[in-house]
C-alpha cells in the first residue's frame, strides 16, 4: 500500500501535518500561549492563506485547466460573502443552511453568467465577465439596497456562531479553515483527474478539436465555470466568517486581480501552484507592506510583470521544468559518485 | 543560383516539420516543389520568406544569407509570396490590394498596364472589394500583387487549389508568360499543372527532399510518381 503513494503525496501529507503542528510549534518557539499573541497572529495569517488558496485554486480550474481567462471571479467570491452575511444576519439562518444557500446561489449565478459570457470567447469573454462582476460590485454599493447590503459600508457585524468565532476560538477556526482547504483541494483533484477534467484540458489545448471529437464544449465549459464558481463562493463565505463582515471590496476588480496574481505566481495549470501563490502573495504583501508602507503594490506590480515576462510558468511550472533537469543532474552526479567509489 | 536552401530544419511549436530540406532554384527557371499533403511544402516556402524561420541550415538568396531575418526584410530583397488560400485583403479594393504591395512610390504606376493586360478581369473589378472576387480572380490578384514591386523570385503556393480546370488553364498561361522575366518556385498538388510549367522538380517527403531532377524525366517515371505523389 505504501509503495503506491508517490513522493508528492508524502510531501503533501508532511505539509498538512506540519500545518497541523504549526500553531503549537509557534507557541513553543515564542513561549506565548497558543491562543494569544504571536501564535494567534500567525494562525490568522495562515487562515487567510487557506481561504485565498481555495479561491485561487478555483480560479485556476478556469484559467489554468480550461483556458478560460475570466476577469470576473470576484463576483463569486464576493457573492459568497454577501449571501452568508445576509443569511446569518437578516434571515437568522443556521450556518449549514447558509452554506447550502451559497451553493444554490453560486450555481444559479455561474449558470447565468456562464451562459451569457460563453456566447463569446477569448478576450471578449474577459471583458464580458469583468463587466458582470463590476455590475454586482456597483449594485452592492448602491444605496437603494442599503437595508440588505449596507451599501458602501458593507455588511457589518455578521453574527457568527460562537463555537467557530475567529476571534475567540482562533485555534478551532484555524483547523476548520485548514480542513476546508484540504477538502476543497481533494475535490478539485477529483475533478481534474476525472474524464470531465480531461475534456477541460482538451478544450484549453485545442477547442475546435475537442468539439470535433464529439464533446459539447459549451457544456463542459459551463461545468468548469460552475464548479469554479461554487468553490470561489464557498471561499468567499469562509472569508466573511473570518472578517465578520462582507464588503464591496470583496466584489471588486482587486479581488479578481488577486486570484490572477496568485495563479500566475504559483503557476497556472496545477492545483498546488495557485495555493502556493496564495501563500506567497499573502506573506509577500505583509512583508512589503511592513518594508515599503502603503506604496507596496508598486513593488509588487514590478515583481509581477517580471514574473509574467521571465517566469511565465510560475513557481510550480518553473520548478517542474527546471526541477526535472536539476533532479536528473543530481541523479547523474550521484551515479558518477557511486561509480567512482 | 538565385536561391539555395541548405538542409534547413524548421519547428512549428513542438513539431519538427522540416527535417532537412535542400534545394536550388536557378535564375530564370520554374522549379516545382511536389509532395503529398503535409509533406512540408508550404512550410518550406514559409521558411524561405521568414514566416517560420528555420532553426538550423542556411537560406541564400542571390548569394546572401537571409535565414533568421524578419520576413519584411527578406521580402524587400525581391521575393514575392503568393500564399496558400491567396490571402487577399477582403476589405481592401482590388486596386488597394495592389497598391499596398508597393515598396517605392510609383511601383504600381509602372506595372499597372502590364498587370491589367495579364489579368483583364482585375481592371474591370478594380474598385470592388477583394472579398467579393471569385476564387480564380482572387488567385490572379494574389499573383498580380506579387508582381507590383520589382521581385526577382516568386514563391507560389498551390495556385490551382479549388479552381475550375478552365481557370487553372488561365493561371498556367499567365505563369508561363511571366517565366521569362521572373524566377518561380512553385508548390503544386496538381501534377498535371506542374508538369506543364516547371523545368525542374524537387519531391518533398516527410520533411526531407527525397528526389529531384528534370521535370521531363519525372513525367515518364510512373513508379516514382506513384511512390511519392500517389496517383498522378
Amino acid at each position: 500500500m505504501i509503495r503506491k503513494i508517490p513522493p508528492a503525496g508524502w510531501a503533501g501529507a508532511a505539509l498538512v501535518a506540519g500545518l497541523c503542528l504549526f500553531p503549537f510549534a509557534m507557541a513553543l518557539i515564542t513561549g506565548q500561549p497558543v491562543g494569544e499573541g504571536a501564535p494567534k497572529f500567525w494562525q490568522g495569517m495562515l487562515i487567510q492563506v487557506f481561504i485565498l488558496a481555495v479561491y485561487a485554486m478555483s480560479y485556476d480550474l478556469l484559467m489554468g485547466y480550461t483556458g478560460i481567462l475570466s476577469f470576473g471571479h470576484a463576483l463569486f467570491f464576493g457573492t459568497g460573502s454577501y449571501v452568508l452575511g445576509m443569511m446569518l444576519k437578516h434571515a437568522g439562518w443556521p450556518l449549514w443552511q447558509a452554506a447550502l444557500m451559497i451553493v444554490v446561489v453560486a450555481v444559479a449565478q455561474s449558470l447565468i453568467v456562464g451562459v451569457l459570457s460563453l456566447r463569446v470567447s477569448g478576450v471578449y469573454l474577459t471583458m464580458v465577465t469583468l463587466a458582470f462582476a463590476q455590475m454586482f460590485f456597483i449594485l452592492a454599493e448602491a444605496t437603494d439596497f442599503r437595508e440588505w447590503t449596507g451599501a458602501e459600508d458593507g455588511l457589518q457585524g455578521i453574527p457568527i456562531p460562537s463555537w467557530i468565532s475567529p476571534t475567540d476560538q482562533r485555534l478551532r477556526f484555524y483547523f476548520v479553515a485548514l480542513g476546508f482547504a484540504l477538502v476543497m483541494y481533494l475535490l478539485a483533484r477529483r475533478v481534474v483527474s476525472s474524464p470531465t477534467g480531461a475534456v477541460m484540458v482538451a478544450i484549453r489545448e485545442n477547442e475546435p478539436r475537442a468539439r470535433m471529437l464529439g464533446y459539447n464544449t459549451f457544456v463542459y465549459k459551463l461545468i468548469a465555470i460552475t464548479i469554479s464558481g461554487v468553490m470561489a463562493a464557498l471561499a468567499g463565505g469562509m472569508n466573511a466568517i473570518w472578517n465578520l463582515n462582507a464588503n464591496t471590496a470583496m466584489l471588486g476588480v482587486g479581488t479578481t486581480i488577486n486570484a490572477l496574481l496568485m495563479t500566475i505566481i504559483g503557476g497556472a495549470g496545477s492545483l498546488v501552484g495557485p495555493m502556493l501563490g496564495a501563500g506567497v502573495l499573502q506573506l509577500l504583501g505583509y512583508w512589503l507592506n511592513a518594508a515599503f508602507g502603503p506604496r507596496w503594490p508598486l513593488i509588487f506590480g514590478v515583481v509581477y510583470i517580471l514574473i509574467v515576462l521571465f517566469f511565465p510558468y510560475g513557481l510550480v511550472g518553473t520548478w517542474r521544468l527546471r526541477g526535472a533537469g536539476l533532479l536528473a543532474l543530481w541523479r547523474r552526479r550521484l551515479g558518477e559518485a557511486r561509480q567512482q567509489v | 543560383m538565385l536561391l539555395s536552401v541548405e538542409s534547413i530544419q524548421t519547428f512549428i511549436g513542438q513539431f519538427h516539420i522540416l527535417e532537412g530540406i535542400s534545394l536550388e532554384v536557378p535564375s530564370g527557371s520554374i522549379t516545382a516543389l511536389l509532395g503529398r499533403n503535409g509533406a512540408g511544402k508550404t512550410t518550406t516556402l514559409r521558411s524561405i520568406i521568414g514566416l517560420n524561420p528555420p532553426r538550423t541550415g542556411r537560406v541564400l538568396f542571390d548569394g546572401q544569407e537571409i535565414q533568421g531575418r524578419p520576413a519584411y526584410e527578406i521580402a524587400a530583397l525581391g521575393i514575392g509570396y503568393v500564399p496558400e488560400h491567396r490571402a487577399i485583403f477582403r476589405d481592401l479594393s482590388v486596386e488597394e490590394n495592389l497598391r499596398i504591395a508597393e515598396r517605392r512610390k510609383g511601383d504600381l504606376a509602372g506595372k499597372i498596364d502590364f498587370i491589367y493586360e495579364l489579368f483583364p478581369d482585375l481592371k474591370r473589378l478594380a474598385k470592388h472589394p477583394g472579398g467579393k472576387l471569385s476564387g480564380g480572380q482572387q488567385q490572379m490578384l494574389a499573383i498580380a500583387r506579387a508582381l507590383v514591386p520589382d521581385n526577382r523570385l516568386l514563391l507560389v503556393d498551390e495556385p490551382s487549389e479549388g479552381l475550375a480546370p478552365i481557370v487553372v488553364e488561365q493561371i498556367v498561361a499567365s505563369l508561363r508568360r511571366l517565366s521569362d522575366q521572373i524566377t518561380v518556385l512553385l508548390v503544386e498538388q496538381n501534377f498535371h499543372m506542374a508538369a506543364q510549367l516547371a523545368d525542374r522538380y524537387y519531391i518533398v517527403d516527410d520533411g526531407h527532399t527525397a528526389h529531384s531532377g528534370k521535370m521531363a524525366d519525372l513525367a515518364g517515371d510512373q513508379a516514382l510518381i506513384t511512390r511519392y505523389l500517389g496517383a498522378a
Binding site: 486581480i257 506604496r295 508598486l298 514590478v302 510583470i305 511565465p312 | 521580402a75 504591395a101
Partner: protein
C-alpha cells in the same frame, strides 16, 4: 438590398428597438430636458469613443486586449492637468526622461557603426548592469513631492527656486541618465544583430536632438514655468491637449515596444502584463500626484459669466464665450459642446486616416492578415507600435478633455475603461464604426440613467415615477451589453467569425 436586410436582421431590429426605446423615453420628458439628455449622452459618448476607438484598433490589428487603456486615459488627464496648472513637475522630469531616451536611441543607432564590442553575452549583461547602476545613480534622492505640493492651480508668479534642485545637480543627473541610456542602447543593439542596420542618420539626429533638448530645458526650468503659466488659459489648454495626447502616445509606444512585443507568441500573457501595468501605473500616479484628485478649471474660452449669459445660441456663444449655452430654455455647459466637437473631429480624422492614407490601408489589411502584410515587405511590428501609440494617444487626449469636466483622480481610468469595454462588446471588436456606435449607445444610456436618478421616470402602469441611485444608472449599461450578447454575440457591427 433585401439581401442586406436579411443578413443584418438582428442588427436592424436591434437598432429600431433602440431608437424606439429612446424616442419613448425622450417623450417622457419636456423637450428641453430631452435635448439636454441627448447632449449629455453625446458628451459622454464622445469621451467613451476616444477610449474605445483605440482599444478596438489595437485589438483588431494585433489581438491585444489592452487593460492599461484606462491607465493611459488617466495619464493623459494628469499630464494635461499638470501642464495646465503646475508645469513644474513636467519641466523637472521631462529633461531626465529625454536624456535617458536620447542616449538610448543614439547608442542603438550608432552601434552598427562602432567597432564590434568583444565579450558577447557577458558584455551585454555588463552593459545592462552598468545602465541600471547609472539609472539608480542618476535618480538617487530625486524627490517629486515638493515639486507637486507647491503647485497652484492657475496663473501668476510661482516661487519655484527652493522646490527645484540646483542646476548643477540637475545637469549631473541628466548626464548620468544619458550615460545610462547609452549603455542600455548598446546592450539592446548587441542583443539584436539584425536590427538597426542601414536606417540612415535619422535615428542619430533624433537621439542627439533629444539630448540637446534636455540640456536646453535644464537651465530654463524656472523661466519656462513662468512662461507657460503666463500664457492665456486657452492657449495653455491647447498645449495641454497636445502634451497629454503626446505623452500618452509616447507611453503607449514604449509599452508596446518593451512589454507587449516580446509576448506576441503568448497572447494571454499580453493581457496579464497590461494588467500589471495598471497596478504599477496607478501606484506611480498616486506616488507623484498624491492619492486625492484635482479639480481643473475650464479655460476662459468656455467660462465667461455675466449679464448676457447663458448665450442664446451657438453663434452668439462664439462672441461671448459664456460658460453655458441656452438649449430650448435650459442652460447647457459650453465646454461639453467642445467635447462633442472634439469627438466628432477625431472620429472623422481617424476615418480619413483609415480610408485615405497608406498607413490606414496597412492597418485595414493587417486587421485581417498581419502575416501577409509582413510578407509583402512591410514592417508590421513598426505599424503595431504606431497603432498602439495612436490608440494610447487617443485615450490620453480623451483624458485631457475629460479633466475639466469630471476632474482628475486616480480612479477615472478604471471607470472609463469599464464603460469602454462594454461599448466595445456592444459595438463589436475591431470594427471602427462599431466602436463609435457602441460608445454613443453607452453614452446615451448613461445620460438617461443620470436623468432618471435626478427626476425619476414614469413607467407605464405604475402610479409613481420610478427613481433609483446613481449606482444603478452605472450598472444599467451592463444589462444592455447582456442583451446585445444574447441577440448578437459578435456585437452590433462585429464581423462573423
Amino acid at each position: 438590398m433585401t439581401n442586406f436586410l436579411k443578413q443584418n436582421r438582428p442588427l436592424i431590429i436591434g437598432s429600431l428597438a433602440a431608437v424606439a426605446a429612446m424616442a419613448w423615453a425622450l417623450s417622457q420628458y419636456e423637450p428641453k430636458v430631452a435635448a439636454s439628455i441627448l447632449l449629455s449622452g453625446l458628451t459622454l459618448g464622445a469621451l467613451y469613443f476616444l477610449v474605445t476607438s483605440g482599444l478596438s484598433l489595437i485589438f483588431g490589428l494585433m489581438d491585444v486586449l489592452n487593460f492599461a487603456h484606462g491607465l493611459l486615459f488617466m495619464v493623459g488627464a494628469y499630464m494635461g492637468y499638470t501642464l495646465y496648472a503646475n508645469p513644474r513637475i513636467l519641466l523637472n522630469t521631462l529633461p531626465l526622461l529625454l536624456a535617458l531616451a536620447g542616449g538610448a536611441i543614439l547608442a542603438r543607432r550608432a552601434a552598427p557603426m562602432l567597432p564590434k564590442i568583444p565579450g558577447g553575452q557577458a558584455a551585454r549583461w555588463g552593459l545592462w548592469a552598468l545602465a541600471v547602476a547609472l539609472l539608480l545613480l542618476g535618480s538617487w534622492g530625486f524627490d517629486l513631492a515638493p515639486l507637486a505640493s507647491t503647485g497652484i492651480s492657475a496663473g501668476g508668479d510661482v516661487p519655484t527656486a527652493e522646490a527645484q534642485e540646483a542646476l548643477g545637480l540637475f545637469v549631473g543627473r541628466l548626464l548620468a541618465l544619458a550615460a545610462s541610456g547609452i549603455a542600455g542602447g548598446l546592450a539592446l543593439a548587441l542583443g539584436q544583430p539584425f536590427a538597426g542596420r542601414s536606417r540612415g542618420p535619422r535615428g542619430l539626429v533624433l537621439g542627439a536632438g533629444l539630448l540637446a533638448l534636455a540640456l536646453l530645458i535644464a537651465p530654463a526650468r524656472t523661466l519656462g514655468e513662468g512662461a507657460i503659466l503666463g500664457l492665456s488659459s486657452n492657449l495653455r489648454f491647447l498645449i495641454a491637449l497636445v502634451v497629454g495626447a503626446g505623452s500618452g502616445a509616447a507611453l503607449g509606444g514604449l509599452i508596446e515596444w518593451s512589454l507587449i512585443r516580446p509576448l506576441y507568441s503568448r497572447p494571454i500573457y499580453q493581457v496579464l502584463v497590461t494588467l500589471g501595468l495598471v497596478l504599477v501605473g496607478t501606484e506611480l500616479v498616486k506616488g507623484v500626484w498624491g492619492p486625492t484628485g484635482y479639480y481643473m478649471d475650464t479655460p476662459d474660452f468656455f467660462s465667461q459669466r455675466g449679464e448676457a449669459c447663458p448665450s442664446p445660441n451657438l453663434v452668439a456663444w462664439l462672441g461671448d464665450h459664456c460658460a453655458s449655452i441656452d438649449v430650448l430654455g435650459r442652460p447647457f455647459p459650453s465646454y461639453r459642446i467642445f467635447i462633442i466637437a472634439l469627438g466628432l473631429i477625431m472620429f472623422a480624422a481617424i476615418a480619413v486616416l483609415l480610408r485615405r492614407s497608406r498607413l490606414g490601408m496597412i492597418i485595414r489589411a493587417g486587421v485581417q492578415d498581419a502575416e501577409m502584410v509582413q510578407a509583402l515587405g512591410i514592417n508590421v511590428r513598426r505599424v503595431f507600435t504606431m497603432v498602439f501609440a495612436l490608440g494610447a494617444g487617443l485615450a490620453a487626449l480623451g483624458g485631457v478633455a475629460a479633466a475639466p469636466f469630471i476632474g482628475v483622480n486616480p480612479g477615472i481610468g478604471q471607470e472609463f475603461q469599464l464603460q469602454a469595454f462594454i461599448a466595445v462588446v456592444i459595438g463589436g471588436m475591431g470594427s471602427y464604426g462599431g466602436a463609435a456606435a457602441g460608445a454613443l449607445l453607452v453614452g446615451l444610456a448613461r445620460a438617461f440613467g443620470d436623468q432618471i436618478v435626478l427626476s425619476g421616470i414614469q413607467l407605464p402602469f405604475m402610479a409613481e415615477a420610478v427613481k433609483f441611485s446613481p449606482s444603478i444608472a452605472r450598472a444599467s449599461t451592463v444589462l444592455i451589453m447582456a442583451l446585445v450578447l444574447l441577440i448578437r454575440p459578435t456585437g452590433l457591427f462585429g464581423k462573423k467569425d
